[in-house]
Symmetry: C2
DNA sequence: GTTGCCATTGACCGACGGGTTAGGGATGGG
DNA sequence: CCCATCCCTAACCCGTCGGTCAATGGCAAC
């Protein structure tokens, strides 16, 4: 039998190592983080890390897995009754919130991704699929909105979605990495909405009392 | 007297080393690039590198300097006669072109910047100043455009400029790092212009302030 | 020819990297 | 009590790192 105490200790130290590794990998990157540092940060011996994880890559994979846990999309089910405009708003708001809430791991993945440091195909694949899924959702809702006359028909849905995604990414990168010189995210989102829905004050219960 | 041949050889090998270092630093990053690799790539001995550059940091600084050389802004002088709208178009076009033409070094700096890997203050400072200058220019032209009724007054100039910059950055990051799944940059720019200048394709000023 | 400087090299160094190994305490089953 | 198994560690291995150094070929000046 496996001892409950031993098991718990096992998981304890493993978690401690993982937490330390996440911290270090996220702030310093893979190559710049040494196993000795992880050991020191986790207050265990280096050998114990290699007992839990066969290799440094292995530890990295475990970190990636842990970081990927919250990456789920949960929209759409209960929002069937909203009109296309509100659904799009909800999608965009969800994207922004997600990035905000997972700021550290998002910037971590973003960094890996941009630096071309190769990650196992499975992970980039999963992230890409999520991103593409999101874009597809957005494109679809935009198309729907256009059909119902709620959405600007200035461009094809794909082009609009591409632009919205790019703008969002730019805004969020601003938010994540240029912490100084903050900007007005709400106004920016309002501009995106205006671009999507036209200047019609529509169902938007927001400021700008232009019609007074 | 200094021998012309020696001098030339000196500069030759120095340049060769710099070129190799640029290539390697840009693709693999600072920490992941070893001096031995640079030596191999430049087809010189490692010791020669340390003869030209006291330390690895030194080499890195030289690389940064070389990469920063083309970073200049040359707008605005001969464009005095253009109207605000055209000037804004020119600014945005210039930004896009600049990033495109200096793609490799831009992404290099972007990577350093995002990864928080510290660069000497002077460089981040220079880049930041350039960026801020550009944004100030854009803000100014937008303000001018708004005053002349050529530009949408949906938001304050700063907010508009922030948004435009963020959107541009998002688009360009798309362009730089997501080479697959290309998108329609021209359409995206057109959308930006529409947002800036209103839906009117011509030069007709809309929404006069005197309309009340 | 020799002197002196410059560019360049191979051999070398200590430090640190990822990874291994031999073993030691705890715990539980027989 | 002994043995097996699990966690865990100190010490070690070996390759690579940034960096140094003594030595050398080449070339201009005398």
């Amino acid at each position: 039998m496996v001892t409950a105490g031993g098991q718990a200790q096992n998981q304890d130290s493993r978690d401690e190592i993982l937490k330390a590794a996440i911290r270090l990998f996220a702030t310093r990157g893979f190559h710049e983080t040494s196993m000795s540092e992880v050991a020191r940060e986790a207050k265990v011996s280096k050998a114990l890390i290699f007992w839990h994880f066969k290799t440094k890559e292995d530890l990295f994979l475990a970190v990636l897995n842990k970081l990927l846990e919250p990456y789920v999309i949960d929209f759409a089910e209960e929002s069937e009754k909203l009109d296309a405009r509100e659904q799009i708003r909800k999608l965009i708001g969800g994207y922004v919130n997600f990035v905000r809430e997972n700021a550290s791991s998002v910037s971590f993945f973003l960094r890996r991704f941009m630096s071309g440091e190769e990650m196992p195909e499975a992970f980039t694949e999963q992230i890409r699929r999520l991103y593409d899924l999101y874009k597809a959702l957005l494109t679809d809702r935009i198309r729907l909105g256009q059909e119902k006359g709620l959405c600007a028909r200035s461009n094809q849905p794909e082009v609009l979605a591409d632009f919205v995604m790019a703008a969002l990414n730019g805004l969020l990168i601003n938010l994540l990495f240029m912490s100084q010189a903050p900007f007005d995210l709400d106004s920016a989102l309002a501009m995106l909405y205006r671009l999507l829905f036209g200047d019609v004050p529509g169902a938007a219960p927001q400021a700008e009392p232009a019609a007074h």
